[in-house]
Structure formats: C-alpha cells, structure tokens
Symmetry: C2
Subunit: 476 residues, 2 copies
C-alpha cells in the first residue's frame, strides 16, 4: 500500500511540468478539419463494417485467381456491393488477364527414406510430363549460393533452394527471400537443373505450401518450379543431412491456358467542389487460388470499401473526388494496374494522392510516402493525425502497393500505410489465408487511419508533388 | 535504487520465517534412493537425446498407420534402434492389424456459393461411389443435438456436426467433442443421412483436417464420414447462415483392405535382483497417415526409449526389470495393446507399475494414478520426487494411456504423467504433426519425470495394488 502511494506521488511529480510546457507547433491543417478527421478516426476504431465485406467476399466468392470462374464472380460481387452501398459511377473497366491453372501437385522423397511431401506449383510454372520426373537433389542455402554454382553443375538434377524467411513487423524478410521464388527457375535451369524446389517463402511452420508468382527467361529452358511447405523443407534438409544421395520425384499438372477477359472495378464519391481532383484508394480483387484470399487482399478491399462507405455517410461529400479501384490480377502480373495506368494516363496528373491497402489486416503502424520534398509538411500533418492510432513516420521512399507501381512510373504522389505484418507471412499465399485469420480490431484501426487521412486530403487544400518513380516491381 | 533496496528487505522479511518452519514429513523413500533419483531427474532436465529418437523416426520412417509400408518400416526401426542402444531381449511379438486406406478425399460446397473445401476421411470410413454423392446439408451444433432429431428426419441428407473443441491444458475438451467423430456416422445414419461431415476435433484454425478413428454399428447402414478443417467448417457455417439451402458434394476413395501382420516391439533392462517384477513403460509406434506422427506418438516413444537408455547407462541395472513396449496400432483399434494383454495375461500380476507416454511433448504437470487406496502413500512419494519439475498430484482415477486399457481390465496398477496439452490438439491427427511441433524442452522435462519415477520404482521396494478397471475406452 505504501509503495502504491509513493508511485502515485511520483506520477504527479512527473506529469505536472507537462501541463505547463509550451504547446507543440500548430498543425498546418485548419482546426475544424482536424477535429472532424479525428472524430472519423475515433469512431472507426470503435468498430466498423469492414469485417462484413471481407466475410461476404470470402463466403460468397472465395478463391479468385486471374482467369478463373472465381475472378469473374468477384467482379460481379464488387459491382453489386459498391452499387448497393450507394457509390456513384460504379463500373468495370476491361482488363485482359493470363489464365494459369495449378492442377494437381505430387512430390515424394524417393531415397534414402521414402516419404510424400506437401508442395505447390509456383504461379506460372510449367507442368511436368504425366509420369513426372525423378532426379537427385542438389541443395543450396539461398539463391545467391545457387548462383555460385558453375554452369552445367546441376545437369539432370533438381535444385533445392532452402532460404528461410525471417519474421519481422515490416515484412522485410520477404523481399530478401522471395528472390528464390521469382528467379529460382531461371538460375537453376541456366546450370542444367531439370526442376527447382524452394522452401516456402513464409514464416510459419504449417504443412501448407506458399505459392506465388515466378518468372521465366525466354532465353533459358523453362523448368517446373514448386514450393515445399516449411516442415517438408525441414524433412528434405534432414534427409540431406544423412549424407546419403537424396532423390526426389515431382509431378505437376500445371498449365497455361488462353487469356481471359476480366475487369478493374471502380466506384466514386464525386467531389463536391473539385470533382476533377482525385484521391485514389486501391486494393486488388484477385487472390491466389489456395486460400480464400481473406487477407490478401480481401482485407485491403474491405478497408477501402469501408473507408468510402463512411465518407458516403457524411452530411456532405468531400470537396475532391474519392475513387476506389479494385484492381484485377495483381498476383500474376499486375494486369489491372497496368491497364488502369494506360487507360487513365491523361488524367494521372489530377491524382492528388494515391494509396493501396495490400498487406493484410494488422494494425497500421507507419505512414511512408513517395512525394517531392516540398510536400513533406503535409505528410507530417497526416502523420500527426494518425499518431493517436500508434502510427509513426516512415521514410519518403515507399509509396503504395504493387498496383500503384505502373501509375507511379508516370508520376503520381503516393503514401503507404504499413500494416503490422508480423503474422501476415504465416498464411500469405497459402490455403490458410481464410476469414478466421483476419484481425478484426486491426481492420477497424486500419479503416480509422484511412478514413481520417482520406477525409483531410479530399476535403482540404493539400497538394502533393510526386516523388521519383519506384524501384523495379517485386513479386507479392 | 531505494525502491530496489526496500523490495529486498521485504523479501527477507517474508523468507525468514520459512527457514525456521518445521520440515515437511519425511518421504517413505530411503534418502539415498531419493538422492540418486533426484540426480537422474536434474540431469535429464539439462538435456537428453529424446529429440534425436523422434527426429530419427520421423525422418527415416514418417507416417506409419496400421497395415502400411510405414508401419513395417517402423517395426524395423524400433528393433534396430533398441538393439543399437544396448537393450536386452529386444524382440517383436506378432499382432494382426486392420488395413484401411484413406485414398483421395474431395469436398465441395455446391450451393449457394460454390467452393472447394479441405476435408479428410475419418479412419475406417467407407468410401463413396466413384462419382461421389451430393445432397442438402442439415447442421447440428453437437452430437447431442443430432440425437434429438427424429428418425427419418435426415433422409437423403448429409448431416454436419459442428461441435467446437475448447482448448485446455489437460486436453479435456477432446473427450467432450470426440463423440461426434466416434458416433456421428451411426447416429446420422439411424436418422436417414447418406453421409456425415464433422468439424475437425482440434483447437487450431489451420486449413488441415483432423482425422481419427470412427465406429460403425453392424445394425445400421455404414455411411461415409469425413472431417472438415476448422476454417472450412466456418465457411460451411457461414454459407448455412445465409438462410439458403446448402448442398454439398463428397467423394471419398477410402477402403478397407485385408488385415496385415504387424508387431509390438519390446525391449528390456533385466532386473538385477528381481527380474520377474516388471515396470512397464509403453508408447505406440503407429501413427495416423497425414503427418509424420512426431508428437503422436513419436514423442512418447522417444520419452520411453530415452528413459530406458539413461537407466542403461547407470553403473548397475535397477533391481526390477524395466520393460519398454512400443505398441502396434493404437490409433485404429488398439490391436497391439489387446494382443499384448492376451499374450502376457499370466504374467500381468507381476507388473509392479505401468505407464504410457501418449500425449505429445509438452511438459509433464500432473501425476494421476489408478491404484488401490493402500498404495497411495507410494504415489505421494512419487509426486514429491517430481514436484521440483512442476508436477502436481492428480486424482486416483486415471492411469495410463489407451494401450494400458486392455491390461488394466485384467488389473494392473498404473500411473499417468499428464503432459501439458494446451497446444497438442492444434496438430493432433493432422498433416501438421511434424518434427517442428516437438517441444524439445518439454520432451527433456518429461524424460526427467519418467526416469526418476521409474528408477525409484524399479530400484526400491514399493508395491502398488491395482485400482479398479478403467471406464470404456475412448478414441484417441
């Protein structure tokens, strides 16, 4: 009891001087605007309908990879949902997408100790013959290690790239490891390999493989490529550690089919005063085929739809136009993003700010930007607005998700609200990306960040000059 | 610094009276025996080779369901490993086991919203025709709720039993929920259903189904039975919540093949002075087919093998015989346990104590018993010995694992060392039961509990009279 009293006194001592301290510098935003934005922010944290939208999408549509029946159903779902919510100018814009079909995947360690393993074809992989292929395994700790192997040294072998993705809040382990998925087939084939296996690019230890896009080089033979689940990569590693030769049997029924028509789905809140000035909010409507795309990117679509819905419910629409774009086929080549940038290139200079939600449903903890230096005070004002949500200032080097890339090449200002991705790569691109993995509180907090940010940008007089174009795209 | 000093004084004040308090009553065990057991206990906590045995079994053998190639490989592995470690009387004893083959399982919600789901046939289920079956789904919250449905009310339908298993350290949610797996097919068929689906009996939210044994009644039509992964049960629940009729398509290629020969694997440390008196340590060598049986029951076998190995390394063997039994086919009908009890029935009265490790690799936190009341002081002495490991006294109503059941019907004294099963039912009976899920520290602590307990029982003069026979067996 005595200690408790002492502690209380101490707190009083500490807090008293703060009351007398000078106020922080005033925000460049008018007080009334800040107050209204703060109200929108604080209301959203208490609970939103974002979870309803991701629940609806995953229950009624589910998997929606490029070219699939599910993707077409998702476009219908998007148009119907946005119309029912009362958005204006709800429309689809045509996009042609590739259509790759996974088919069945079977893998087996044949010797020294025969065991079946869980694996998944990488997105875009060619298949094997019906009989499959069987060969000795040559293992490497990373893509860089494989690149040290001389040409011809993998002749007739299966290369296994065993890089492990570290867990991090900012998902930074992904960029370092995903190269084995994107370039593994090219680098292995250059050295004579007949197939490539990678350890799943993910942070979990579930017996579910992580798929994701991969590349071929037309100058190099196209070899089948698959990801082992992490426990199965452990198993292969353990058998390799026996010192005995390890042979593996792989059969993939994957194949590329003719292109399919698809669409970007677009909706708007037309600006009350400056309808030509656009605040663009994106997400991608497609998903990989193994899960129901709840977090990738159902969550992002739910966030931007709910952000728009909350702005719709205001007594008056914001001064500028808020445009929501549910992009087609992000996962397998950014078809929708490229089509959008091309179709809207004349209008891109009228984009006041662009943002995309595409890193799951964790809490937003950072605001990064890609704007010109003279626009940074406005970015600081946005961070100030979001600080009560636990959002910190990021660098001015990262703006937007993958779908903003083609637009950013043509110079649009962008921001990125980074979600806490500590858990995201446990289920990303696996069958486990299902509704139960959605972080409801994180989703609401994310909506709070978006709605308050979008409101002040759409209502106020901020102008953002674009930053430099982004570095070359990375596979998500 | 001042606060730290004050806290230290406070601790001194509290601890001083304890030093002066009277000693607890002396243990009925001789001090030298207790000291040696404590030494064995404390050495094991620092690290054992138990993980090596489960690593070897899962890497070199993997899945080993009754009747499979893997089961035969496991018997060879057991004989080889126990011989190499220097056990005496290493042998196999014949057991005939059923041979059920899972085959492929496909499930799809057809309407209102078409989606494929992840499911697994329950162990022993009949298959469907090659075309599969399709019917409307009738859902129930529990087996008890289904049992309320009138006869004929499920005619032509697929019953879905949606009971959710709660998480608990003692795994108590399992017994309450597993009835839907064991009896669901019988109860649904009685009411006219053509198939039964259950929510997986497990505490995880991974898109991996939990298999496990189920029963038929020869007087009731045998219908196909499968478990949905928990996220897929959620999806079915969400589609049912739409209020629209839900139809489901199921195709199972499961089938029962002719019985196969198998074996219990047995090894001994013959008693130095009283070789006819046996301390029996069991585990089961078989596993379900989906994972590599790392925790169920690779961990248990590793614990009993390592316990025996540590006793082997003592300067002299214990006075009584320690017998290790790796039982055949626990999962699909206790074949090995029944064969053992029958083959050894004349000798069962010479079992001083029996125990089985079959609840994974979590830390042991409780010792329960099934002995006559006059033997309870010895049980208390065992608990005293294990208390520094965090082991508490359980009831005198639960002794041993499922494989001890047939012996206990013929009256043998038994104890149960309960592992912390908080995480166990996340991966139990799924593809996820792989080496990475083994709790290494838990495994070592478990060996510490077993080795010290077995040492004092095998070396000392304790006698345990058997408790009453166990209640009817439950499916694991």
């Amino acid at each position: 009891m005595i200690q408790r009293l002492a502690l209380t006194s101490c707190l009083l001592l500490v807090s008293t001087p703060l009351v007398a301290a000078p106020k922080p510098p005033a925000s460049p935003l008018p007080a009334s605007l800040r107050q209204e934005a703060a109200r929108l922010r604080d209301e959203a944290v208490k609970g939103t309908r974002a979870y309803d939208w991701v629940s609806s999408l995953t229950t009624e549509v589910g998997p929606r990879p490029a070219g699939s029946r599910g993707e077409k159903a998702a476009v219908e779902w998007g148009l119907r949902t946005l119309r029912e919510l009362g958005f204006a100018n709800v429309r689809s814009e045509p996009v042609t997408v590739p259509h790759w079909e996974r088919g069945r995947a079977d893998g087996e360690i044949v010797s020294p100790y025969r065991q079946s393993v869980v694996l998944a074809a990488l997105g875009g992989s060619v298949g094997t013959s019906d009989e499959g292929l069987e060969a000795e395994v040559a293992a490497f700790d990373s893509l860089a290690a494989l690149q040290q192997a001389p040409e011809g040294s993998l002749l007739g072998k299966i290369a296994f790239i065993d890089g492990k993705m570290p867990r991090a809040r900012d998902g930074s382990g992904y960029g370092a490891t995903v190269v084995q998925r994107g370039s593994g087939a090219i680098e292995a084939a250059k050295r004579g390999a007949i197939a490539v296996l990678i350890r799943s690019v993910g942070t979990d230890s579930n017996r579910l493989a992580h798929t994701g896009g991969m590349r071929y080089d037309d100058a190099v033979r196209k070899i089948p490529a698959a990801a082992l689940s992490n426990p199965d990569a452990d198993l292969l590693e353990a058998q390799l550690a026996s010192g005995k030769p390890v042979t593996f049997r792989l059969r993939l029924a994957a194949r590329l089919l003719p292109d399919e028509p698809s669409a970007n789905v677009i909706a708007e809140l037309p600006g009350r005063e400056r309808p030509d000035e656009i605040v663009l909010l994106g997400c991608h409507l497609d998903s990989w085929d193994l899960g129901t795309g709840a977090n990738d990117d159902g969550a992002g679509c739910a966030i931007v739809i709910e952000t728009g819905r909350r702005l719709l419910s205001l007594p008056q629409r914001p001064a500028r136009t808020v445009r929501i774009v549910l992009f087609a086929n992000e996962e397998f080549g950014l078809s929708g993003a490229k089509a959008y940038a091309e179709a809207h290139k004349e209008e891109l200079s009228r984009n006041v700010l662009t943002a995309e939600a595409d890193l799951g449903s964790g809490r937003v903890y950072r605001l990064s930007s890609a704007v010109a230096p003279q626009s940074l005070p406005w970015i600081e004002a946005l961070v100030d607005l979001l600080r009560p949500l636990g959002v910190e200032r990021g660098e001015n080097d990262g703006g937007g998700g993958a779908d903003l890339g083609p637009m950013r090449k043509l110079l649009v200002p962008a921001v990125s609200l980074s979600h806490d991705a500590t858990a995201y790569f446990d289920f990303h691109h696996t069958a486990n990306d299902t509704l139960d993995k959605v972080d409801r509180a994180g989703l609401d907090q994310s909506v709070a960040a978006y709605v308050s940010m979008v409101f002040v940008v759409a209502e106020g007089g901020m102008t953002f000059a674009p930053g430099p174009p982004p570095p070359p795209e990375r596979r998500r």
